[in-house]
Amino acid sequence: MTIMKSANRYLWIGYTAARSNLAYGGEVIYRCSFLTIILYIFLRLWNVVYAATGSDRVGGLTLPQMVWYLVVTEAIYLSAPRVASEVDEDVRTGRLAVHLIRPLSYVGGHLSRAMGDRVVRFAINLTVGAVLAMILVGPIPISAAGIVMFFATLPAAFLLDFLGMFLIGLCAFWLESTSGLALLYTRTVMMFGGMFLPLAIYPAVLQPILKVLPFASMLSAPGVMFVNPSFLLLKESIVIQGAAVTVFLLVVAIVQFLAMRRLFSNGG
């Protein structure tokens, strides 16, 4: 009963965050227009590449599959909430003190809010991207099993990204500004996660290394799972995501413990 009550609190925070996200129409339009531009530019790019190679497959994907892959990775990347800057602001303004006296886990509260934000943003991005992809390149073969496997990779992908950004935010206890670090983190995810280029296009010597890094689990794995699902890829993704989540959780717990030791409360 206590566990259910506790879970209800976090679910309610997530639900509130999801609803408030829908109130900012301007931001939704901004993300959708940016997604449209990127998809158009990359469709032009891949049209040129496929025509130049004379092949109907590049990196194992056809042109429509490449565009749909990009829809999924962009939808995930652009749905990321501003966790690092929120944690940074909490530390810098002292708002952290207000959070800590609440009967809620600090990281749990942020996780609920972030997931509420992310689910709504991802749904909107994916819907808009899917409509654009249908117009630009048409549909690709999709099976019910493939859709289930695709959605199975998403929760851990979102959780991994959240933990990474939360860690960056906690660095505010030691650094004057975490904005640079947050920018580096997002670029690392973009480059090593295969946002624009599927990992199969990277140099062969890099591919095995990139596949075991957590970044590929955030973007490339869901992307490939959508356009070219396979049970083998699902098994690999679950193992890598599971290991990455465990390591990230441990690191977040240690860093948060060390960070809280630097926290001092002054009266007034």
């Binding site: 227009s33 531009i37 130049a52 004057e176 904005s179 480059m191």
Partner: protein, 266 residues
């Protein structure tokens, strides 16, 4: 007129000194933002390195051409918003919230004071990146090197003019911050991809509504051809964008009404 121009250059130098002193009070934050933006730009270049490693030519454009495009765009962006930080994402909200009142109390024209009022720390990372990539990777001839320095200032003029143009929308549409940011970000996005990807109608758009052509395509063509004629066209285009932006601002300023909001210099 020449004396007036020199006076405004001295104003620019004074503001730059003040802004940099303010930023360097928090050196760690300043240098980390510069370094992070440098690495961020490097990530985009790494993407193109991977791309051209697999697909060596893109409609006549090679890796060197794309490096050149990124160098001139980032150098121009960095100079523009390093010197005139308020031209980036501030003008639209300042107009909507009545913050121009403070700047209108300064002597002489209000726009230079407002634009010079702050610096964007990360823009210096972009500027450094542009020059490092061009001189380190492209390895230009002496004429190309001179032309690059001139073109980076030309592109900076385009960025400032376009920033003023998009920000001035708030005079006519109310709080146009989001629209202004979107318009500017879309232009920058198009400017960082080779123009050979786009066909005739889109290219027309890229020299009018979305001035990506003036930001990167014309400057890169000037550097490829080392042609003074192309350079003069790029300069004319930049001055045209600046004139349009300044015109929109001062025409909109006639419609501006002061509010009762108390504001402070940040």
């Amino acid at each position: 007129m020449f004396r007036s121009f020199v006076d405004y250059l001295r104003l620019c130098a004074a503001y730059l000194r003040i802004n940099m002193n303010a930023q360097l009070e928090y050196r760690g934050a300043f240098y980390s933002q510069v370094a992070a933006m440098f690495i961020n730009d490097g990530a985009w270049v790494a993407f193109w390195l991977l791309f051209f490693n697999r697909f060596p030519v893109l409609h006549g454009w090679s890796l060197k051409d794309v490096m050149c495009l990124w160098a001139v765009t980032t150098a121009g962006f960095g100079i523009a918003y390093g010197v005139m930080g308020n031209a980036h994402r501030r003008l639209a909200s300042a107009i909507a919230q009545g913050e121009l009142d403070l700047w209108m109390l300064h002597p002489r024209a209000v726009l230079p004071h407002f634009l010079l009022g702050s610096t964007i720390p990360s823009a210096w990372g972009d500027a450094a990146f542009g020059f490092v990539i061009y001189f380190g990777f492209v390895k230009p001839s002496f004429q190309q090197a001179l032309m690059f320095v001139v073109l980076s200032i030309v592109v900076a003029v385009v960025f400032v003019g376009f920033g003023v143009m998009t920000g001035s929308l708030s005079f006519y549409l109310g709080n146009a911050s989001t629209l202004s940011d979107q318009w500017r970000d879309i232009s920058i996005t198009f400017a960082t991809y080779p123009p050979t990807l786009f066909d005739g109608k889109v290219k027309l758009l890229l020299f009018t509504v979305i001035p990506a052509g003036f930001i990167s395509y014309l400057p890169v063509e000037s550097l490829r051809s080392v042609s003074i004629a192309d350079l003069l066209i790029a300069i004319a285009g930049a001055l045209g964008v600046l004139a349009a932006g300044v015109g929109m601002f001062y025409f909109g300023l006639r419609r501006y009404e002061s509010g009762n909001l108390i504001s402070m210099r940040e």
